[in-house]
Symmetry: D2
């Protein structure tokens, strides 16, 4: 069984792309998982088909003005037909973001990505790591040094290119998220395949009673 994990991202200056590649590397650590990097500003029919057949989609966007970037939001809006048809229902989802400040409003971006997933009826995979760099013995080399919980948060100095920023700890944090999504998606897929095929459909008509 091959597991397809898509990473749908927008990157303005390369920092988000660096994280996307770190997530990709993390996905590869799980033996049966096949990552697919999709730049949402360049998405074509093949990209949409790839998303449609993915077991999980990991969303990534820089945080601009306290939210996902305009190009990423444009991609979100493009999914409205899929939303209506429940095309992504029950897939796994996760997210990552990066900005110049330590905290900034990165939480808001991740919350927006989790809300997108909820709109699509997906299951949201949290980061699953305790915070690092939160005591006098901590450092910026700690995993999850920014302290995200909904997803992976990274910080990139505004005067550094993607060769230097975000730092290694943030990239490894993102990689662990990728690996985690792959592992959970595998478990879930195995279980779904074993589950009684007669199970009643997930999406109902909209009248109660």
């Amino acid at each position: 069984m091959t597991l397809n994990i898509s990473i749908a991202y927008h990157s303005g200056y390369g920092h988000t792309e660096a994280l996307a590649k770190a997530v990709e590397g993390g996905v590869r650590r799980f033996s049966t998982a096949q990552p697919h990097l999709i730049d949402v500003t360049q998405i074509n029919d093949a990209g949409w088909a790839q998303l449609a057949q993915s077991d999980a989609i990991i969303f990534g966007s820089p945080t601009y003005m306290g939210a996902v970037s305009g190009p990423f939001k444009t991609f979100m809006d493009q999914t409205s037909k899929i939303w209506m048809e429940r095309g992504w229902q029950n897939k796994l989802a996760a997210g990552f973001t990066v900005s110049g400040s330590q905290s900034g409003d990165k939480f808001a971006t991740l919350s927006q990505l989790a809300t997108l997933a909820a709109q699509h009826g997906m299951l949201w995979v949290s980061l699953g790591l305790l915070p690092g760099n939160h005591s006098s013995t901590g450092s910026i080399d700690d995993l999850n040094r920014i302290g995200g919980s909904i997803g992976a948060m990274a910080q990139a100095n505004t005067d550094q290119g993607a060769d230097l920023a975000p730092p290694q700890a943030d990239r490894e944090t993102a990689a662990l998220l990728g690996e985690r999504v792959a592992r959970l998606a595998a478990a879930y897929k195995n279980g779904r395949m074993a589950q009684d095929a007669r199970v009643e459909p997930e999406v109902r008509m909209t009248k109660a009673g």
Copy 2:
């Protein structure tokens, strides 16, 4: 394989309890699932043990002043030791809320419950239903008539007791969430049991590189 699904809730005037019972009924629709109702203001050692062995926890709180109730927040704070020990890591989670107004700030409450789950490293199960009552042919009898996505939203008239409010459509919406969590938890549990037991542990040390 028995599936344990806990419903951890606080109810101020009975409306949230009515929803909790609707969720409980929904869980029972899935044959192997055993629901456990836990009033978080009365929780004892047995209740904590029940949560610890649950495959999924569904959180429920009224929306008071734009967030979960004080008693529910007190319960949330009591989970901080579990958080540190990653006791709920990888369990499934979901949420429901009720308030007097149609929208109010119920989204904020559900977002807070999803954030609690993320802090614990859980997987968040969205409602999985398109909105109802959103066209000229819709009505307050529609499933998901309030239009939640992160979880189940209910509306209870402020001058009606839990015998009348929230209405049937909201209770059935909550029940479908319970059933959905049970189904997904079963798939996930089956898959986890089948997955290679040698899989590396989920929680890592906090140093990168």
Copy 3:
């Protein structure tokens, strides 16, 4: 003293524009206030200049996929230079949104608009109305029938054009927000003009101590 109040909005199908015009009418109820409607997808140099000299900016966007629309987010990103120069610091701000479902994730959209304002160092004006339609004697003709607090929430049936949807109660709710912003902006502007001109500048250097 003339008070300049801009209404910066994007409208996909006319419903948000209908609300924007309702806000405009509300602003006009305050005698010294001059409203300026700005479609952010058509904004030009004159529009940016208008925003720069406004005492308050009221943001409006439909809720698409649980957040502001792509075109509105693109506008938000275009304000990043103003953000860095603190061009909108201390202006008043407020917001409104509309979507097909009753609640949906309209809260998330308003929260995003309030976060935009916070990034710019603005003061956020809440709706200032108790919720309507929250008891057995309420109706969809009530002011604030959707129950917003951060801003004005409206609901437009997905099968009705802007001639019919959102209904009159939502438009009047939006108008009251416009009037409220004008009144508060007048008070604040009067006070600022009276305040000692020697007051130390609001924006500091970034080193503490």
Copy 4:
């Protein structure tokens, strides 16, 4: 004209109290402003009266499990009667929070405080400072080193008492928020007093049309 600025806070281990005192010091920098520290877990009739006659209320809470603390939420719930009577309508509000991790979910806590203010019909004062420590020449001594926008964010090492944590930069950031609220409250109060007394009341009946 004396300006009354209340600081309503809960502190679990002293770190939030240290910030509250920093805010208090900042308020005092504005000559006509009188700060009032109110521990919400000890609030009595005099405290409620103080809040009622305050021109601005600055809310402070630690971030526990991704939200305000249980004791602070209990205080929030206690304000529901004031909410119904619109007792705090049009007062200014602001907020601050502290937690062990750099970002964590502090944004969520500040958003919750801003939502509380919106429920009460208040005006929310943002931090008004660009982020610090966001480039290769930045440091943890920068003002707004954590990068908040809605309010003041502080980080306290989990193994340090309130004598050492949060560090000076965070305390000065909080102090500047206090001073800013005082200055803006003064402007607004001056303007309100000058404004035509015949102005129509802010709170309307709840029927439209």
